[in-house]
């Protein structure tokens, strides 16, 4: 019995799919999440990765002499929009579904 349970648990975990994050968050100058409306079940480490990634986009853009006010990353099933604010950024996460239009 115990063996079967372990077997099926292993199979389920391999097939598990991470839900896409939805909501908004603010990050500080180091890319760490300060406040967020994204589900607490979503891994904090991934949110921090998003934060530090978008901050580096703003930083490198300044270095290239094109300081940016807003950046949007469009993926097949998710849009990430980030606006630079004093000492960090505010980031919006919009999962893209069959019901959403390409630009929202």
């Amino acid at each position: 019995m115990g063996f079967l349970k372990k077997l099926f648990q292993a199979f389920r975990s391999r097939a598990a799919v991470q839900q896409l994050p939805s909501g908004s968050m603010t990050v500080d100058r180091d890319g760490l999440v300060v406040t967020t409306t994204v589900s607490s079940a979503y891994p904090q480490a991934l949110l921090n990765e998003i934060g530090s990634g978008v901050l580096s986009l703003f930083r490198e853009a300044r270095a290239a002499q094109i300081p940016l006010a807003e950046v949007s990353l469009h993926f097949g099933s998710l849009r990430i929009t980030a606006r630079e604010i004093r000492g960090g950024a505010i980031i919006f996460l919009f999962p893209q579904t069959a019901r959403s239009t390409p630009n929202n």
Binding site: E49, G53, E60, V71, S72, F75, I80
Partner: protein, 356 residues
């Protein structure tokens, strides 16, 4: 004897799945048809055994078809994908094709024209990884046009290459008109022939279409083939300079035609120099483009958010669009007053024509 190909059909409607199972099991190649009523179940099945083809609905609860397709494209790049949906909106068709699906069919069309649908599935099951035009394996566009003309067909060939759409009008085996990238007639025909890949479909003939092309099709094909050979093998330095100048002028006209201020074409690191028109700051812009694409792809991979479509950005002076295209990435800059909603389509048209 080879094992039969496996097809996985994903739809939340169990009755529809039963119908599909019955229909697809009777395909001439005798595939092994499996079904799944949820996206997570389908992904688990794809993880556990190899499939040749996934047929997927779009509108489903929890995780919809577009999300499944974006995951599938990344995890199983060899898997052929077909969307079979009841959503008639053209937007879903283009979004599905943007995710790299091989075929998009409406459920109503499938029931109405099941023979053609079955033929398409058979072609996909047997298709290899060659290039060419989808629908007729390993055939160039020249071959397709010649076949239509030799058969003395009357039809309209609609050819799609990414965001670019062109049409050829054939009447009783003669080419009478062509339309592509804002051009018409012979000019348009030559532009279409320069496309290396794409998809095409036959539309009903339009007998009343005014004739703009009077040259015989064989003469046009011969001229185009010669031009392509000359461009590929310049015989002298003068010819090369002239071709290069023509190319630059063509790109400038593309740039202004789409209302953009500058374009930077960025090859992968170490594989050539960035190429730019309309800006002097090539190196810093290319460096930022590379960085932006790298960071975005990293985030996309970690979140399993599907392939990177594009990056949009703006400040008070300009609007920017980063578009990955093959191995290259393109950074396109527009003035702030340009209509933001149309930049993606304009940018895609621009870069699709860039290397033509």
């Amino acid at each position: 004897m080879d094992a039969p190909h496996k097809i996985l059909v994903l739809d939340d409607d169990a009755d529809w799945l039963e119908l599909c199972h019955e229909r697809f099991s009777q395909l001439p190649s005798g595939p092994d048809v499996r079904t799944a009523t949820s996206s997570s179940r389908a992904l688990a099945m794809l993880e556990s055994e190899p499939f040749r083809l996934l047929i997927c609905d779009l509108k489903m609860p929890r995780m919809d078809g577009l999300q499944v397709l974006s995951i599938v494209r990344r995890r199983f790049p060899q898997l052929r994908t077909v969307v079979l949906s009841g959503l008639e909106d053209e937007e879903f068709r283009s979004r599905a094709y943007a995710l790299g699906v091989d075929l998009f069919w409406l459920k109503t069309d499938m029931q109405r024209n099941s023979t053609m649908f079955v033929e398409c599935l058979e072609a996909l099951l047997g298709r290899d990884d060659d290039g060419g035009f989808r629908g007729v394996q390993s055939k160039s566009l020249m071959d397709i046009i010649q076949m239509e003309c030799l058969s003395r067909n009357s039809t309209v060939l609609r050819i799609t290459r990414g965001p670019l759409v062109s049409k050829l009008w054939l009447q009783d085996g003669e080419l009478i008109d062509a339309e592509a990238e804002g051009a018409r007639g012979e000019v348009a025909f030559r532009r279409i022939l320069a496309w290396k890949s794409g998809t095409f479909e036959n539309l009903p003939p339009e007998p009343g279409r005014p004739r703009t092309i009077t040259k015989p099709i064989n003469a046009l094909l011969l001229e185009s083939a010669q031009t392509m050979d000359e461009n590929a093998n310049p015989s002298s330095e003068t010819q090369f300079i002239s071709a290069s100048h023509r190319k630059t002028m063509w790109k400038l006209s593309l740039l202004t035609g789409e209302g953009a201020e500058f374009v930077v074409a960025v090859p992968p690191e170490g594989l050539g120099e960035p190429e730019a028109l309309g800006t002097q700051a090539v190196e810093p812009l290319a460096a930022w483009t590379r960085h932006a694409v790298k960071i975005a792809k990293k985030i996309g991979d970690q979140l399993e958010a599907g392939p990177l479509s594009h990056i949009a950005a703006h400040n008070l002076d300009k609007q920017y669009l980063v578009l990955p295209h093959g191995e290259k990435s393109f950074l396109v800059g527009w003035p702030p007053e340009a209509a933001a909603g149309q930049l993606l389509e304009q940018g895609r048209k621009l870069i699709a024509s860039w290397d033509s």
